[in-house]
Symmetry: C2
Subunit: 451 residues, 2 copies
């Protein structure tokens, strides 16, 4: 990358009147995300900073910023709450950090549907839509701080995915409005499959200024922890419950021993040495849930009603990548993997991996729907030694048929689908001809001229 940032002064004077931050410490802080979960990414990203942070209040201001960046060929990296784990919003080539958090309105809502600005925090959206009995379908465990724009731009799924699949599934994102970085920037609306030109594009394909998202019925969610004395009972319980079509669920997370040890605040509930299931289940399903618990010889060790949801720990904040967060707060050398296990109700490969790696790769399961079936994804906790060993672990999983979404790369394609998304590339060629948006993150763009 040798993009010029010299015209910064001209840009700043053009953008006079906007909410600008140039104070170096603040800019440095707003150039960070949670890439430090990865010991591989940390050395690559820790020194990257932007030159200025701009906090637009509305789409008109976004358009002004886009125009200025195009005029002076200055890179622009969009940022929500900066909770991404792969350095998605780290400005590799400096330039403008566009902080969207001031654009946080819920523009309208109706049963099943809402239109929101990108900087709206996920929890804040729910707070409003629950008034009419609805809530967002799925959220990362960073729900309280993360923005919807950042979730769509850099996330994939989470709490709720056991019912609705992931963001990439049709129906989970209905429309986006994006500002382009053409010679004359404009705002365009994408609907239908076109939304995937910007979803999970790490902000390389336009600046999202508005989103239309589907809502789910806001059931009264009971939070429950069930403990099991052996790993496979816990895992099978998770699979069976996830497969139970009559059970309304939002979270089926399995934290086998020793992971519960890392959860200090829940210590008194979690029996030493047990394997725990963390669940969010509709209140109406509690009686049938007991039958599943009985079948797998589990014990309910914690239960919090929907009414008490605001009190005490939220169990969702022990699930998904919060599991990693808690483990790392005890032992910062721990890192993680993201694995999709095959559709096999017997969970054989999972059982194999559990025993094969033992304490080095601690199993942590999140059930989610994938192509119409509930499957265990794993955000295993890895006791990190070297990058070489980490790659060995990844290769071993892949060789046995587990799919790894590598969280130790900041390239879009290398983390997920491992192939070039031609629709995304072609769209970028149109809307960001100068390659100014979050440069360095899209492999297809970097390699497009045969480089």
């Amino acid at each position: 990358m040798t993009l010029p940032t010299t015209n910064l002064d001209a840009l700043l004077s053009d953008l006079n009147g906007l909410d600008l931050i140039t104070e170096p410490n603040q800019v440095a802080k707003l150039s960070q995300d949670y890439y430090h979960f990865s010991p591989v990414l940390t050395p690559q990203l820790k020194d990257k900073v932007g030159d200025v942070v701009i906090r637009p209040a509305n789409e008109a201001e976004v358009l002004r910023v886009a125009q200025a960046c195009v005029n002076y060929k200055i890179p622009l990296t969009v940022r929500g709450a900066g909770t991404g784990n792969y350095g998605q919003c780290i400005p590799l080539a400096g330039g403008v950090i566009l902080d969207m958090t001031r654009m946080s309105a819920v523009k309208w809502m109706k049963p099943g549907l809402a239109c929101v600005e990108p900087g709206a925090k996920l929890a804040a959206i729910d707070k409003q839509t629950r008034d009419i009995g609805w809530e967002i379908r799925m959220a990362p465990s960073t729900y309280r701080t993360a923005t919807i724009g950042g979730f769509v731009g850099g996330g994939s799924g989470g709490i709720g995915s056991v019912t609705y699949g992931q963001l990439r599934d049709r129906g989970n994102l209905l429309a986006v409005r994006v500002v382009t970085m053409e010679d004359q920037p404009r705002a365009i609306e994408l609907r239908g499959d076109d939304v995937y030109k910007v979803a999970h594009a790490y902000g390389t394909n336009g600046i999202i200024t508005e989103l239309e998202i589907p809502l789910a019925p806001a059931y009264p969610w009971t939070e429950i922890i069930v403990s099991f004395s052996d790993f496979m009972s816990a895992a099978q319980f998770g699979q069976t419950l996830s497969d139970a079509d009559g059970m309304i669920k939002k979270l089926v997370c399995i934290c086998p021993d020793p992971i519960p040890k890392y959860f200090a605040a829940l210590k008194s509930y979690l029996p030493e040495g047990t394997h725990c299931a963390f669940l969010m289940i509709s209140e109406t399903c509690l009686e049938p849930l007991n039958e599943f618990v009985k079948d797998f010889k589990g014990t309910i060790v914690y239960q919090k009603s929907a009414q008490d949801a605001s009190r005490g720990a939220a169990i969702a904040e022990y699930s998904w990548n919060h599991t990693t967060l808690h483990a790392r707060s005890v032992d910062p050398t721990i890192t993680y993997l993201q694995t999709l296990f095959p559709d096999d109700k017997n969970l054989q490969l999972l059982e194999h991996m559990y025993h094969h790696f033992g304490d080095e790769v601690m199993m942590h399961l999140e059930f989610l729907r994938y192509g119409g079936t509930a499957r265990p994804a794993s955000l295993q906790l890895v006791r990190y030694s070297t990058e070489e060993r980490l790659n060995e672990i990844i290769k071993y999983h892949e060789s046995k048929g587990a799919y790894i979404f590598n969280p130790h790369t900041y390239l879009i394609e290398d983390g997920g689908m491992k192939m070039v998304d031609t629709a995304q590339l072609q769209f970028k060629q149109k809307v960001d001809p100068y390659g100014l948006l979050n440069p360095g993150k899209m492999r297809a763009w970097l390699e497009k001229d045969g480089k």
Copy 2:
């Protein structure tokens, strides 16, 4: 069966003051259901009539009837709307027909849950619960006339099952209250797995007087018909849409050519010779639906918004066994099968059967969730020749791995699971020691003494 019915006069005088019907034509009419869909059942059942119809107004009256029947050892057959297809409520041994349709109250409702009396019609329940934004999770296509007690007593699933599975899935029935036929009849409440002691027991295990049922969010359902030029595109479209976790759906029914020919009222919409998908989809999912339609080269030929739901044909009334109803109204020699195809996304066995039988067994698919996965069930239309040939067709399906739920038997076990449900049998021994409830329908009971 040689149960005495001689004490009828004594019973009638004991039950003085209750709503009794003894007029022979009326009694004969209320001794019928829709077994005539089966040319095998018709000769076996057509002459069976009860002796008296009693229409209780409340549980206290049910208890009085139960006591009188026990006292005089008179058979009692419960009846909802009498829309069952397997003669479930045909009184094989005469006696009392207990018509539950006067007990039709919705006792209470709250988000996600309702408590209803057994004689409440399914559509009538929805009418009330929709006021608070909820509706029943699943219903047979006889939704407008069938009762909830009859659905739980003799049905299995239907419109809604593509999302919530079947009645037999935990969570889809929360509690039942039943009146027993012990020496001293009493009302008992069953919760959790205990509900399956009376669900789908054809009224042989107690008289349901109250049910607690879960509710689903009442989405604005759009009714859509999509036509396809080839069968496998239509079938694959159905599978893919049913597997789409982000799509909110209530009905995915595929009526291949020549079935649409039987739908006179929709004639102008359904292009000659095409294979049609009948869908109920949440309004919010219409745009992503278009993408699926495109993928499979379909054409939307009919669309009715939720707002217009009350106007014109309800497409649900062309699905499930209404498909058979319409075909039979044109050609009464047609009968049907009920088949569950294996979990195979390529639908190979289904394709094989489609070609193998050709016009003799006309494929008709209903997608439903079964153990966590969307699978095609088929209510094939069969051009009936002989019982022998029908059994040959059934055997052929079974030999290839398709599961047949035989609709040509009135025995509980022979229609469904083909094995004795010991919990049901044991429960019957307790609550109906004299075998008075709907005698002749439970094979396990008939054979219990080694007969």
